[in-house]
């Protein structure tokens, strides 16, 4: 359900960037979403289709890259991928508190067309 407000925030960013860069039509938007983020990709793209109707981003393709959960053990200075959501150092077995990635909800790039004529 909250994907609707996330989709709206995403659209706000796209419109803002489009104005900045003179984009008149958006073809593709790339996102990075962490495995632990509480967002269902299908639900987000569905909501985005709804909120982007009659906007510069209408019909844009949303491409989502999933980001694995990673953490760092401060005893071993080891960065590793967290498997099965167990925040434990694979080397020393200590509990690990520092999460490096896995909660991303980022826009990475926007592709579209400017109104300028070539040449």
């Amino acid at each position: 359900m909250h994907e609707l407000s996330i989709a709206q925030s995403l659209l706000d960013i796209i419109v803002d960037e489009s104005n900045k860069h003179g984009l008149e039509r958006i073809n593709k938007v790339r996102l990075r979403i962490g495995e632990l983020a509480a967002v269902v990709p299908e639900s987000l793209t569905f909501c985005f289709d709804l909120v982007s109707r009659d906007t510069v981003a209408s019909g844009a393709v949303i491409e989502i890259e999933k980001i694995a959960v990673t953490a760092r053990c401060d005893k071993c200075d080891l960065s590793f991928e967290v498997k099965d959501r167990v925040f434990e150092c694979p080397k020393c077995g200590e509990p690990v508190l520092e999460m490096l990635g896995g909660r991303e909800l980022d826009v990475v790039s926007i592709e579209g067309e400017t109104g300028e004529n070539d040449g």
């Binding site: 984009l23 826009v107 067309e113």
Partner: protein
């Protein structure tokens, strides 16, 4: 027509993050410790507040922001305990956000308040992504919901600094495995405290009450030091 690619790298929730940061500085200026209390519907958020207020209101100033889809029923329950409570109705929205808190703050008198508890909308997913400017997130899970919830809704259990497992008076009537909850939460969130409580019988309340009272006292102390120290940066 020219096709171009614009690198962006912006957090989708940055607008809310900004509002949350504004709230946070307001709380810090006023010296208030703020908790974002989350759970699925009916896990016992309002019941926890009632009992916690009964025990602590004599020792500190407490205020409550109540988030609900509809009705002001929960705020009325809290007001009966003699503390300020403001109701926010999200009208279908499944979570509170930074903006709603700003609106609620206009209706609150923060003078003399040490602890502000925000009861989020009953929902185990959505509120987890929206910071409100709180100092700590606290999650409640009732034993009637089942011991698999931390596995199914990991973020809510990963980000909380304390998990309250409520309704333990009902344990004999459920197949909820407390050890499984403890183990999953330890793996997911090694720093998170786990308290087992019953809002009905009052069992397990002592450790919870001293933990939260301690947090408020620590916050007050840190603030006093920050004010006294001339080297501290002012924002």
């Amino acid at each position: 027509m020219a096709e171009i690619k614009v690198p962006v790298v912006r957090n989708i929730l940055q607008a809310n993050e900004r509002l949350a940061a504004e709230n946070r500085s307001r709380f810090d200026e006023a010296g208030i410790f703020v908790v974002n209390l989350m759970s699925s519907p009916g896990a016992g958020k309002t019941s926890l507040l009632e009992k916690t207020i009964e025990a602590l209101a004599g020792r500190m100033g407490i205020a409550v922001i109540e988030g609900d889809l509809q009705s002001s029923y929960d705020a009325e329950r809290i007001q009966k305990k003699g503390v300020q409570a403001v109701q926010i109705n999200t009208e279908g929205g499944c979570h509170l956000d930074g903006n709603m808190i700003q609106i609620a703050l206009e209706a609150l008198d923060l003078a003399g308040i040490d602890l502000l508890i925000i009861e989020n909308v009953g929902n185990l997913v959505c509120p987890a992504e929206f910071n409100l400017g709180e100092h700590e997130k606290i999650t409640i899970l009732s034993v009637a919901e089942g011991d698999d919830k931390p596995i199914k809704y990991p973020l809510m259990f990963q980000i909380c600094s304390a998990l309250l497992v409520n309704k333990i008076d009902l344990l004999p009537y459920t197949n909820c495995d407390m050890e499984k909850i403890r183990k999953t939460v330890r793996q997911l969130n090694p720093a998170g405290k786990v308290f087992e409580i019953s809002c009905r019988t009052g069992e397990g309340f002592e450790p919870w009450l001293s933990w939260i009272a301690n947090k408020v006292a620590e916050h007050r102390k840190n603030r006093a030091q920050a004010c006294a120290s001339p080297r501290m940066d002012k924002h």
